[in-house]
Symmetry: D2
Subunit: 351 residues, 4 copies
C-alpha cells in the first residue's frame, strides 16, 4: 500500500512536535514536508533529537511554498497562528491538497464571531461552508467528505465531549454551566516568553484569560448545536505546573435534581458504549490527566451531589494528542480514506 | 522580655514542620517542647535537617504528657488528627495551658454536624462554646479572650476570606456558589501512601473527595454566619503537582447583574483597606500561589463577566503558613497578649 | 500468527505498569496472566485506569501459582524483589516456562558477590550458568538460546552502554572512572514511603546510597568483562524531581590525553553505526532524558576537555522502558523467536 | 538608628527579585532605588506582586543614573550582565557609593583570564586590586575595608566552601578533582528563551556548558589560592527541574587512602565549628537542596569509599540566596559596618 504523504507547516511548536512523533509510527502515512521559516535548512532529526533515526527525521525543514507542498503532499497540517492559516489553506486547497488547520480560522461558523473574539479580519469566509469541525465523535462522516478540517481547540475538545451526553439527553439546565478548566503548560505554546519559563510556572498555580478566553465561542457554538438552542456559559482556564493534559471540571445543575448518580452514569455509559476513545469511568472514579497522556482517550468521571442538585462532569484529555495532533491525524485519516484510528490505535497512555 | 514557651504535638507533619520554621524566627516565642511518639528521643534538628543550628533544633522530641506540657509550655499547638486532638485539648486546658488545635475537632459549632461529616463521636462538646474559630480577620478579638483556638482549615481560610466582602455587602446570590479549589500536595499530609508519591502526582492533575470533602460544612458554617442565613454551596478540591499553595476559584452570580468590575473592586478594596494580610489585587490582575508562598498573605483577584452576570473571586494563600501554622501562630500571639503579627511580619513571600 | 502468551508477576510496581503498557501494543505477544497478592481479584483495567479498553485490561489479577502460570504462559516476567524472584524462576523453568527476571537475582555471575551486596542467600546458584545478562547490544545471541534472562538494572544499562566503545577501543584509563548518575523517581519504586512523597522530592535534589549502591557490582562485572581485567569504579546515584529517565555522567581519563573530540566521536559513531537503539549525538550535542522518554533509545553525548585530558560520556535512557520493561520485552522477543524489536519499533519518544 | 539606603540595578532578574525579598525584612537597610530600563515607571510592588504592601514596594522603578544613585543610596547592588557592570561600578565608586557587583567583572584577579573566558575586554582593570571576592567565610575582614565587592558566582560558592577544609588540611590530591554540579533553573536567569520554558525543563535532565562553563576559572582561582599552588579541575554543571538550589558533588582522591570517614568528618567539623552558615552534616547524612531553601546555609555531607580511596564532598546551597542576593547582602552589611548576618539571621529554610 502506497503511503499517504503529509506535510507539516509550523514544526517548531508543541503540536507540530507531537504530530512528528505520531507520524513516525503511522503505518500508512509519512511526513514528506516540514516547514518553518526560522529553522529552514536543518534536518528534522537535528532540530528534534527525540526523532533522530525514526521515520521523518531525514526530512529537511523548508520554507512553506504551496506549489512545492502540492508536489510533495496529499495532505498538509497547518500548525501556524490564527490569521496566518486561512490564506495558506486557500492556496493549498486551490492546489488540490487536503488541509487540516490547527488554528481557529475555520472553527467558528460565523465569521463575525471570529472577528469579535480574535480581532482578525476573516479573509477566507468563502471556505467556511466546506470546513468541518473535526471532532470525530460528532463529525466523522462529514470529515470523510471534505478537504478542509478545522481542528478543534484543546479545551473545547474536552468540554464538548464531557457535555455531549448531558446535552443530548437534556439532563441539565442550560443557563447554569460553569467550566473550570486546567491545562498543562504546553498549551501555552513554545514561544520564548517570561510567563512560561520554568521558574514562573513550577510550584505555582494561576488562572488566566478570564473572562474572555478565545475558546469560549467555540465551546458555545458546539454546545448550542447539541442543545438545540443558544447557550451562554462561563469558561475559566487555569495553568497547571505540568507539561501535558487538560482536566475540565464542568459544573451543571440537573434538570431533575432527584436524579441519581446511577441514572446519570447509565445514560453516559450507554451514550458512549461504542466509542473507541471516550471512556466513562466507573461510578465513584475520577479521571486523571496522566491516564490519557500521549493518547486519544477522553476519560469522563461523574459526580452527583444531592445536597446541591448538581451534576459535575470531569473530562480529561491529552491536550497535544487528543487536543491537537492526534485528533488532526484522525481527521487526516478520514479525509484520506484510512481507518480513523490508523496510527493511533496502539497509543497506550504513558502513565 | 521573657519568651513565651510553646509546645508542639505532632511534629512529623507538614504543618508541624512549618510551625518549627516560624518559631525559629519568632522574637518573643520559642519552641520548648516537641512531641511525636514515633520519633521520640531524637533532637529536632536531627529529625529536621533544615532546622539544625536554629532556635528549637536542640529540643528533644518526647512523648506527649499533659503534665509535662504544663510544666514546659504556656501554649501548645496540636497538629494531630481529628478525634485525637479533643481529649488532649481538654487535658491541657485543665492544666492551665492554652491550646491551638489544628484539627477540625472544635471548628464546627454543632457537634452533630461534626459527627456526620467526620464519623467521630465528639467527646468534648462542653468545650465547644469557648472554642474560637481562629480566622483573625473575623475573630481576632475573641481569640484574645479565649484559651482554645480551633485553627481553621486551609481551604476554608481561602474561601471565607475570598467571599467575605461579597457576603457582607450582599453582592451575590446565595444559592449559586461553586468553589473550585486547587491545593498543593502538602495539604494531603506527610504519611507514607501511594497516591501522594512523587510519580503519582507529578505531571498529572486530578480532583478528589467530590462531592463530600470534610471542609464543606466548615465553609458553610462561616459563610452562613456572614450571610445571616443558611448557605449550601458546592466545594470541589483538586490536587496540584506543587508543594504549597491553594488557589480557590469561587464562582458566584451577582445579585445585580449590571454591577461593574470597578464597583465590585471598590467594595472589596474598601472592605480590606486596613488589612495587614489580605491584598486586593488591581483590576485585571489575578493571584498566583507563588506570590504568597511562605507568608500570611491572602491575595484576592476579581473577575466580572457581563455576558453571564457572574462574579468570580480568586483567592490564593499558602496552605501551610496562612492555612495552618502561620495562622496558628497569629492566634497564639493573640491569646498570649503579643501583637498578632509577631514573628510573622517579616515573612516576605519566597516567590 | 498465534500470539505468544506472557505472564507478569508483580503488577503493582512501575516496571510492571510499563510492561502492561508495552504489551498492549505488541503485535505478537499478549498479557495472559497478571499476578499480585495484594490486588488479586481486580481486573487489570480497574487497577490501572490508563489501560482500560486496551489489550490486557480484562485480565483478572491473580495470586502467583507456577502450575497455573505454565498453563497460561509461554514466558513470565518477574517484577518482584530480589530474593523472591529466584525460587519463582526455578519453579517456572521446571514447568517449562521461559523467564525474564527484573530483579538482581541472576545478574551477578558470582553468587558470593551477590550475597555480599544484597545480604541475601542465593538459593538457586545452579541456575546461574544458564542465566543471560539481558543487555541486547552485548548478549542478544545468548538471549536467543536461553530460557532465563537476568534483566539488567536501570543504572547499569546506561553506564555499560555509555562505556562500551571506550572500553572496547581502550580509550580510557581503567583506574579513574567516576559515574555520577541521576534518576527519575520512578526508579525508587511504587511503595508507600515518606522519602518518595511528592513534597519530599519536588523542588529538591539529593544523592543517595553513597558509596555502596547495589548496582555497583553489576556495573563492575560487565565493565571488567569488556575491559578484560578487573575494574573498580565509583558509582554515585542521585534523585531527580522527575518521573522517568536516567542521565549518567561518566568521568574518565583519556589514555592518550591528546586525543581530540573528533577522534573519539568517530570511534563511538563507528562502533554503534548499525545499532537500532544506541544513538551517538553529533559533536557538541548533549543528551536529555526527555528525548528518550518511553522508548528504547540510549542517547550518548561526548565531551573531551584538553585542559584536563578527560573524556566525559553522557548517557541517557528511560529507566522504565530501556532500563526495565522495554529491555525485558526485547529479551522475551529473542527467547521466543520474535524479532528483537517487535512491539518496540514504533516507540517514538514522548518528548 | 538611621537605615542604610540601598539601590538595586537590574530588578527584573531572579537575583534582583531575591534581594528585594531580603531587603523587605532587613532591620537596618532599605531599598531606596530600583533600576530597570524596561520596567521604568512602574511601582516595584506592581512589578513584583509578592512584594506588595511590604517595605520597598512603593519604590518607583527608574533608569539608572549614577548621580541620582549617589543622591539616594549608600550602597548599590549591580545585578546586570558581565561587561555592563564594570563601568557602572566605576561611576558609582567615583560618586562615593559602595558597590556589590553580582556579575563576574571583578571576580577574576587576572584580567587576561577574564577576557579569555568571557570574551569581553576589561575596561576597569584599575579597580581590580580593590575588589574583594565576597565569600564571607574567606574574606569577611577584607570586605569590611573595601567599597567594591565582587559577589561570588553561585556554583563557585558551593564548590569553594565544599573543598575548603580538604584543601586547608591537604587531605586530597590536587590533580584529580571532578565537580558534578546540579542547579535549579533560576540559575539560568529570567530572560525569555525557549530552552528554559517550563516544558523544556520539566520532567527532563541535562548537562550544559561542558567543558568550558565560565565559573571554572573562578573556582580554580580560589581553590589554587587555598591549595597554595595552581589547580586545574573539571567542572560540569547540570540543569535540574526545580526552581532553586545547587548541589555540587565533588569527587576527590584522598592523599592518604586509608583515612576513614570519621577522621575526615572530624577535620571538617573542627574547621567549621564556629561558622554561622556552614553546617557539616552528621556522618552518613547527605545534604538536600530543600533544607537550605531561601537561606544562607551551606550544608556539607561527606562520603569516604575505602574501595576506591575517594572522598566525595556534597555541598548544597540556595543559588539565589547564598549563591547571589543573600551573600551580596552579607557583604553590604560588612561594608556598611553592620553585623554580617543582619537581615539574614532569621531565615529559617522554607523546607
Amino acid at each position: 500500500m502506497k503511503k499517504i504523504n503529509a506535510g507539516l507547516v509550523g514544526i517548531t511548536g508543541y503540536a507540530g512536535m507531537e504530530l512528528a512523533r505520531l507520524l513516525a509510527g503511522h503505518p500508512h502515512m509519512r511526513l514528506s514536508m516540514a516547514c518553518s521559516r526560522a529553522e529552514a535548512g536543518k534536518r528534522l532529526g537535528q532540530f528534534y533529537p527525540f526523532l533522530e533515526s525514526l521515520p521523518g527525521s531525514d526530512v529537511v525543514i523548508s520554507v512553506f511554498d504551496p506549489k512545492e507542498a502540492a508536489r510533495l503532499c496529499d495532505v498538509v497540517f497547518l500548525a501556524v497562528p490564527a490569521g496566518t492559516a486561512m490564506d495558506m489553506a486557500y492556496d493549498l486547497l486551490q492546489a488540490g491538497v487536503k488541509v487540516v488547520d490547527f488554528s481557529a480560522d475555520f472553527r467558528l461558523r460565523d465569521s463575525a464571531t471570529y472577528e469579535e473574539w480574535y480581532k482578525i479580519d476573516h479573509k477566507q469566509q468563502a471556505l467556511l461552508p466546506q470546513a468541518v469541525y473535526g471532532l470525530p465523535e460528532l463529525y466523522a462522516q462529514d470529515a470523510a467528505r471534505t478537504s478542509l478540517i478545522a481542528n478543534p481547540g484543546c479545551y473545547p475538545s474536552s468540554v464538548i465531549l464531557g457535555l455531549y451526553a448531558a446535552l443530548k439527553h437534556r439532563l441539565i439546565l442550560l443557563d447554569d454551566i460553569v467550566v473550570d478548566a486546567k491545562s498543562g503548560t504546553s498549551g501555552a505554546g513554545r514561544k520564548a516568553s517570561v510567563p512560561t519559563l520554568f521558574c514562573e510556572v513550577s510550584d505555582t498555580f494561576r488562572a488566566y484569560g478570564l473572562p474572555r478566553h478565545r475558546h469560549t465561542p467555540e465551546i458555545e457554538q458546539e454546545v448550542s448545536l447539541l442543545a438545540g438552542q443558544p447557550v451562554c456559559l462561563s469558561f475559566n482556564p487555569h495553568l497547571v505546573p505540568m507539561n501535558r493534559g487538560i482536566l475540565s471540571t464542568i459544573y451543571t445543575r440537573l434538570a431533575n435534581p432527584a436524579m441519581t448518580l446511577e441514572e446519570v452514569h447509565d445514560i453516559f455509559s450507554h451514550t458512549w458504549k461504542d466509542s473507541q476513545w471516550v471512556r466513562i469511568l466507573p461510578q465513584g472514579a475520577l479521571p486523571e490527566t496522566r491516564f490519557v497522556r500521549g493518547s486519544m482517550f477522553c476519560d469522563i468521571g461523574l459526580v452527583v451531589d444531592p445536597r446541591t442538585g448538581r451534576l459535575t462532569i470531569l473530562s480529561a484529555i491529552d491536550n497535544l494528542c487528543r487536543g491537537a495532533a492526534g485528533q488532526a491525524l484522525a481527521n487526516a485519516n478520514l479525509m484520506c480514506g484510512l481507518p480513523m484510528q490508523s496510527g493511533l490505535e496502539h497509543l497506550a497512555p504513558l502513565a
